[in-house]
Symmetry: C2
Subunit: 320 residues, 2 copies
C-alpha cells in the first residue's frame, strides 16, 4: 500500500503540500493540486481524511460565543428569547462531540480563544476587522456582510420569500404586499429580494412597505396602504400585528386577506388564526456552526463559504 | 461512562431518536431535541459523531455524475473545457477518501445509484422533479433554483460582484457599466444583483446590458453604449471581447476604461493586458460537493443547505 511519502516524491512536492491538498487547507495552486491528484491516482494511495480528523478530535478547543449588542438588548427585553437560545443550545451540545468547549464573552472584549462565533444580525465591518486581526478562525452565525468573505451560517430568506410569493401567485393573487423590517439587516433584505424577484418574474408589480417593529405603529401602516389580496410579512411578529389591525377593521383573515409570516416562532402555531409561515431551522444552524468552526480549527476545507439553510413552508389557517 | 441507552431512557425516547438527534438526520421536533440534549448534558454522555462516520466510511457508495445538456454542448465546442474538468477532478479524488465511486451518466437516463450530482447551470425544475422521484440523495453542483430547496454548491457571484463594484466606486468611478450574460442562469443573475445593489447602496445609477456570448456581437454592444469609466463583465470571456472592441476604437485599457472579468480562467493571466478578475474556486467546489453528498449518503446533517464559495479578487493590469 502506498504511503503519503510516495505520493510526495512522485508529484515532486513536499509531504506537507500533499497533506494540504488532501485536507484542502491552505494555498496550493491548481496546477500543483492536479499533480498531487495524478500521483494519488497512479499510486492508488488512499488518504484517510476522517481518520486524521478523528485523531485530532481528542484535542480540546476553546471557542468564544460573542453575542451582538442588538441580540443582548433583545434578550434583556425578551423580544425574541427562544430563537437564539435554541441555536446556541444546539451549538454547544454538538460542539462537545467535536471536542469544543464554548464560553460566552463580550463581543467588544473577547478573551483569548482558539476561535470565535459572532452571533446575531448586526455585527459591523469594524467588528469584523477587529476579529480578523486576532488571526483566529471565526464565523458569523445568522449574519452575512456582502463583500467581506467571512465564513457564515444563515437562513436562506431569499429562497423562502421567493417560494412563498410564488405560492400566493399560484393561488391567483396579483396584489400581494410585502411588509418588511429595516433593510440594513441581511435577513430582511434577502427576504425582500426574494419577494421582489418572484413578483418581477411573474410580471407583477412589487408593493412593499418598511415597518420597524420597535419604533413603528402598525395601525398607521395599515391605514396608509390599499388593502391587498395577500400580505407576506418578513417575520411572524409583524404578521401577527397585521392580522390584529385587519380584524379591528372587520377585514377577515384569510377570507378577505391571506397573511403569511416568517420564522415559525413558538407562538405562531397557537395564534388565532394559526399562522402560515416559513420555518427557520434553528438547531440545524447551531449544529452546522459547530461543525464549521471545527473544520476551521483543524484546517479542513478552509476556503471561506456561506452556508445557507433552506426554510420549510408551514401551511396553517392565516392564508388560503 | 454513559451509554446511548441511558440517554434514551432519561429523555423518554427511543435509541433511534437519540441517534437522529446526534446525527441531525431526520424529523425530530425541537422540543424532543431539547429533551435529548438535556439528558446528554445531565448524563455527561459523549457521542462520537466522527467515530460512527468513520465506521460507515468503509462502505462503498456509487454516485452518478450527470452533466447538464448545456455543459455537454460546451464541452463539445470546447468553449469552457478547463472549468468543469477541474471541478470534477477534485470531486472524484476527494470522493475516494469518503469511499465514493463516481460514474458519469446521462442526466435524462441515469443508472441506479446511491446518489447523484447534477453538474452545470441549466438543470430545469422538470429534471429536479424527476430526480426527486428517485428518492435518492442528490445535489446541484454550480447551480441553484430558487424555491426548490435542493442541496447545492455554488460560487457566491453576488458577493464577488458586490465587492468588485465597490472597489471601482472607491477608485472614484461613477459611471460603471455591467455587461452580463443571460439572467436565466443563476450565476449571471447573482452577479447582476451584486452589481446593482452595490451601485444602489452608493446612490449611483446601475447601467447594464445583456450580452449572450453565444449569439450576440460585441461590436454592436460597444457601439450602442456610452463609453463609461469602468466595465464589469460577468465573465472573463466577455471581458476579453470588450477589451478587443475598445482597442479597435483606440480606447485604452486601463488608462481610459478599466475592465474587470469574473472566473479567472487559465487564459486571463496571459491576456494583454492581464485581466483583473474574481477567482472562482473550482477544486474547492468539487471537494465540498464530495463531502456534502457523503453526508447526505450517511444521513448526517441532512437538512437541505446551499453552500456558496466566496471568490477572490485578483488585481491585474486591465483595471486601475
Amino acid at each position: 500500500m502506498s504511503r503519503i511519502e510516495d505520493v510526495a516524491k512522485k508529484a515532486g512536492v513536499s509531504i506537507a503540500t500533499v497533506s494540504r491538498v488532501i485536507n484542502n487547507s491552505g494555498n496550493v495552486s491548481e496546477k500543483t493540486k492536479m499533480k498531487v491528484w495524478k500521483a494519488i491516482k497512479e499510486l492508488n494511495y488512499k488518504p484517510k481524511i476522517l481518520a486524521s480528523a478523528l485523531a485530532r478530535h481528542k484535542e480540546k478547543f476553546y471557542v468564544g460565543i460573542c453575542k451582538s449588542n442588538r441580540l443582548i438588548k433583545m434578550e434583556k427585553e425578551k423580544t425574541s428569547p427562544e430563537f437564539y437560545s435554541v441555536i446556541l443550545e444546539a451549538l454547544e451540545e454538538v460542539g462537545k462531540t467535536y471536542g469544543i468547549k464554548f464560553e460566552k464573552m463580550d463581543i467588544q472584549k473577547p478573551e483569548k480563544c482558539d476561535g470565535y462565533i459572532l452571533v446575531g444580525g448586526d455585527s459591523t465591518k469594524e467588528i469584523i476587522n477587529f476579529y480578523r486581526e486576532l488571526e483566529k478562525p471565526f464565523l458569523l452565525l445568522d449574519h452575512y456582510i456582502p463583500g467581506e468573505k467571512i465564513d457564515c451560517i444563515v437562513t436562506n430568506g431569499y429562497d423562502g420569500a421567493y417560494f412563498v410569493t410564488n405560492y400566493l401567485i399560484k393561488k391567483g393573487f396579483k396584489k400581494i404586499y410585502h411588509i418588511h423590517g429595516p433593510l440594513y439587516s441581511y435577513g430582511f433584505k434577502s427576504r425582500f429580494e426574494g419577494y421582489r424577484n418572484a413578483m418581477e418574474d411573474a410580471n407583477l408589480i412589487p408593493r412593499f412597505f418598511e415597518y420597524d417593529d420597535v419604533n413603528d405603529n402598525m395601525s398607521e401602516v395599515i391605514n396608509s396602504i390599499d388593502i391587498p389580496e395577500a400580505i407576506f410579512a418578513s417575520n411572524d411578529i409583524t404578521a401577527m400585528r397585521i392580522i390584529r389591525e385587519l380584524r379591528k377593521r372587520n377585514i377577515r383573515v384569510p377570507e378577505d386577506v391571506s397573511v403569511i409570516g416568517f420564522d415559525d416562532i413558538l407562538s405562531a402555531k397557537d395564534f388565532d388564526p394559526p399562522l402560515t409561515t416559513l420555518k427557520v431551522f434553528k438547531d440545524e444552524m447551531g449544529s452546522l456552526a459547530a461543525k464549521r468552526i471545527y473544520e476551521l480549527l483543524v484546517g479542513h476545507d478552509v476556503h471561506p463559504i456561506l452556508i445557507s439553510l433552506f426554510t420549510k413552508f408551514i401551511k396553517r389557517k392565516s392564508s388560503i
